[in-house]
């Protein structure tokens, strides 16, 4: 594919992602997995994990971070510009129009009902994203333990996501060092 075509493709794909990202950045993960990993094969599931780690440790909204990062990886600077404008454009257009008649929009009760339904399903599509994210994870006690700890910390405590990510990275490094050193009487399997 020519470079210009790829840049145009990035713009359109991220516009689609932006148009359907309701209710917070995590809601775009399942849509991104579908459009960018499954359909376009631009990046892998592991890249999505890296993207989330980077997004959560840097300022800015996940949608913009993801578009800039993937856009750059696929087509360099202009790729990142195209993807970023693409992901922002739907909300820009919708909000500019709505801000002219904010009150009327809120009065549309069927819109409210549609969004109540939509918000319930967002939980489900995000839940489905977890299965894809864990596809390449080793099914061992360490992975399982880290997953559960991160889950519990995020749901029931006010611990920041950055702290959770930092601790998980440290645990990974400690685990890696521990595993690569042959233990007496045991076998190192790395």
């Amino acid at each position: 594919m020519s470079k210009a075509k790829t840049v145009g493709d990035l713009f359109l794909t991220f516009m689609k992602i932006g148009a359907f990202t309701f209710g917070g950045g995590y809601a775009m993960i399942p849509i991104m997995q579908r459009e960018v990993v499954d359909v376009k094969h631009w990046v892998t599931e592991d890249d999505i994990v890296k993207l989330l780690v980077i997004s959560e440790s840097t300022p800015g909204v996940i949608a913009v971070n993801s578009a800039t990062y993937i856009g750059y990886k696929i087509a360099g600077f202009w790729g990142s510009v195209a993807a970023t404008i693409g992901v922002v454009l739907p909300s820009f257009v919708v909000i500019s129009i709505i801000s002219l008649f904010l009150v009327q929009f809120q009065a549309l009760t069927w819109v409210t009902y549609a969004f109540k339904g939509l918000r319930a399903a967002i939980a489900v599509v995000i839940f489905n994203a977890v299965f894809k994210l864990t596809k390449k994870t080793k099914k061992d006690a360490f992975s399982f333990g880290v997953l559960i700890l991160a889950f519990l910390a995020a749901v029931f405590t006010g611990v920041s996501v950055i702290a959770i990510i930092f601790i998980a990275a440290l645990l990974g490094i400690v685990y890696g060092i521990f595993k690569s050193r042959p233990v007496q009487g045991g076998e190192a399997d790395v």
């Binding site: 800015g60 919708v94 909000i95 991160a150 490094i173 890696g176």
Partner: protein, 192 residues
């Protein structure tokens, strides 16, 4: 006019620079920066939070477009939106450009063994918290406030339906699921 555009750009640039994670955590910052500067009223902010829930896009971008339009028309919207997006654009561009060696390093590969399940846990946590609050609107998990007195069975029904559908039809896209859920929402909340 030009001063107003610069002011909009600068305020939202600062907001973009200090937005970590979710947009709602930033509401105190919006309040002090925007209401303090006279660009937005408290009532308009509260109304807008509700509207933003029902429109696509990240909250920070939405409110930039909204406040920009209110105060400076379409040009104002452009300056504010570019302002809020620019900090993360620049930072991510630098990371994408210079991080490949770090991301390929032995240390990062070890860290990644911990990061992969942790990110899955974080995503699962978002799904769980969102789902739980839809079904029991008065729950506050973070504050250990377990109030199950309000129960929205319609939300539960929509979740059960979309979850079953996504298990049965493996190829169904998340966008299709969301659209189906919107129709279900109109039917269940509007007609029953």
């Amino acid at each position: 006019m030009f001063n107003l555009l610069l002011q909009l750009f600068w305020i939202f640039f600062k907001i973009g620079l200090f937005t970590f994670g979710g947009g709602y955590a930033m509401i105190p910052l919006f309040r002090s920066e925007l209401i303090g500067a006279g660009l937005l009223t408290e009532e308009a902010l509260i109304d807008f939070i509700a509207v933003s829930e029902s429109t696509p896009g990240p909250f920070a971008v939405n409110i930039a477009t909204f406040v920009g339009t209110l105060n400076g028309g379409i040009l104002g919207a452009i300056f504010a939106t570019v302002g809020v997006v620019l900090p993360s654009f620049i930072i991510i561009l630098l990371i994408a450009r210079f991080s490949s060696r770090l991301l390929e390093s032995r240390w990062f590969k070890m860290a990644f063994v911990g990061l992969r399940p942790a990110v899955a846990g974080l995503v699962l946590a978002v799904a769980f918290s969102l789902g739980a609050v839809r079904i029991f609107p008065l729950l506050n998990l973070e504050a250990f406030h377990f109030d199950f007195s309000v129960f929205d069975w319609k939300a539960l029904a929509i979740m059960a339906f979309t979850l079953t559908l996504s298990r049965l039809v493996k190829k169904v896209s998340p966008i299709a699921l969301l659209l189906i859920a919107a129709v279900l929402g109109i039917l269940l909340y509007g007609l029953i």
